[in-house]
Symmetry: C2
Subunit: 226 residues, 2 copies
DNA sequence: GCAGAAACTTGCACAGAGTGTAAATATGCA
DNA sequence: TGCATATTTACACTCTGTGCAAGTTTCTGC
């Protein structure tokens, strides 16, 4: 029962006002409508007006929330990656970054979290327009990881972390996470069974392992693990 | 004097026909005009029609060559990365992939090659539209590296390379290359002096070194090398 | 060299994307 | 309740991107 007593000493989630609730609902209605249309008509076969009608809003309002149909769908990916980032930030500050990344990514291999992402993957396969927005989402996440790692380092040490180290590492972590997702999807499609998710988890662990070991050439023997 | 004797036994560059020359010239005229307009008006402040006028072609013809203004500009990045890929393919097949990547990237730190890229970087800083196309170009290159590495491995060994290894490595190499370029640009701007290019070269080498050593946490001491 | 084929360019028309503006409506706050 | 502020909406407008058909250039075989 989340009471919001005015005298509460803990800031709580600061009282979601009516306006914020409405906006969140509209936003959700738009992404839901977009996903429905993507399912029923396929990528590129529906317009912003279609989405607006399906979400019971005006075309103009759609553009108050998203800049394009792709952006509306990419919000799913953004949600997924924001989740990953939140997990990353929860890790202890003295942990090696790669280990934090591994732990954060493994958290994502859970049905509720991965389901929308998997569906989006399967529906947007081989569609250039959507792929660009996906790339943008992953890139945005890279930027956020850079920020998070920088803050973490500045917190524990006094100095600043080398910029190349930071950017190269963050980019590689994201690339490896993406590679694991790609391989998983190619191998399992949108299958969300426990077995399939275990494979995803292992792929994410393996990918971080490869990164941590500097991609030793012998590592390609790992293919017979599956 | 590039004679094209019919009896020549070597296939040569197979006789660039008039049509191909015209197309190449038009393509070049479009990218040149785009870059000129980017310089003079800034990103987002000119239309396809402006480019078409400047290149002395019709609007419709522009779209026969490129799908958008961004795509026209991204052809610069594509050229740069195609160059990198060609260097990669020239490396001996038994060399470790990371070493090949390092060598290929270092080849790019040369004024003629890097100049257009550097200018594009400086002009499209903080412009979302252009950045998306840039990301797409890097991603496209990742795909090509995956292909190249797969072929190379299949050539020397009989078996297939583990898909995760391949994708994670290719993605990380590209990420690190990009990170090095980003840091270089942040540090040196569009400066193309020998000293600046030496820094770029060293950044690329360092980035590949980080990748090869698995991002050992002590590596961040490298910042005092510069 | 010349006719016909094939490739390329161009103008036109049209659907859709994206944005500024101002009026209408909903929400927050005293 | 009543005013201030935030949000939605309709409308108009520019620009994008594409199909189509008519014009122009290049290529091919004769």
């Amino acid at each position: 029962m989340p009471t919001t007593q005015p005298g509460s000493t803990i800031p709580d989630p600061p009282a979601p006002s009516r306006r914020e609730l409405n906006k969140a609902a509209t936003r959700q209605a738009i992404t839901d409508a977009s996903l429905r249309l993507l399912r029923s008509k396929g990528p590129g076969n529906f317009t912003v007006e279609d989405i607006a009608d399906a979400a019971a809003i005006s075309r103009r309002t759609f553009f108050n929330y998203f800049g394009s149909t792709e952006a509306a769908l990419a919000s799913i990916t953004h949600g997924f990656l924001d989740n990953a980032l939140a997990q990353f930030r929860l890790r202890p500050a003295d942990e090696p970054i790669l280990e934090s990344a591994r732990a954060a990514l493994v958290q994502l291999a859970d049905p509720m979290t991965v389901a929308p992402m998997a569906e989006l993957y399967s529906l947007s396969q081989s569609n250039p327009q959507l792929n660009r927005s996906e790339l943008e989402a992953w890139d945005h996440c890279t930027g956020q990881i850079i920020e998070a790692a920088r803050e973490r380092f500045a917190g524990t040490h006094g100095a600043e972390l080398d910029e190349l180290y930071l950017r190269a590492l963050a980019g590689s972590v994201i690339s490896c996470g993406k590679a694991a997702m790609d391989v998983w999807f190619a191998r399992c499609g949108a299958d969300l069974s426990a077995k399939s998710l275990a494979i995803l988890r292992q792929l994410l662990i393996d990918a971080m392992g490869l990164l941590g070991s500097g991609f030793m050439p012998t590592a390609n023997l790992s293919s017979d693990r599956h």
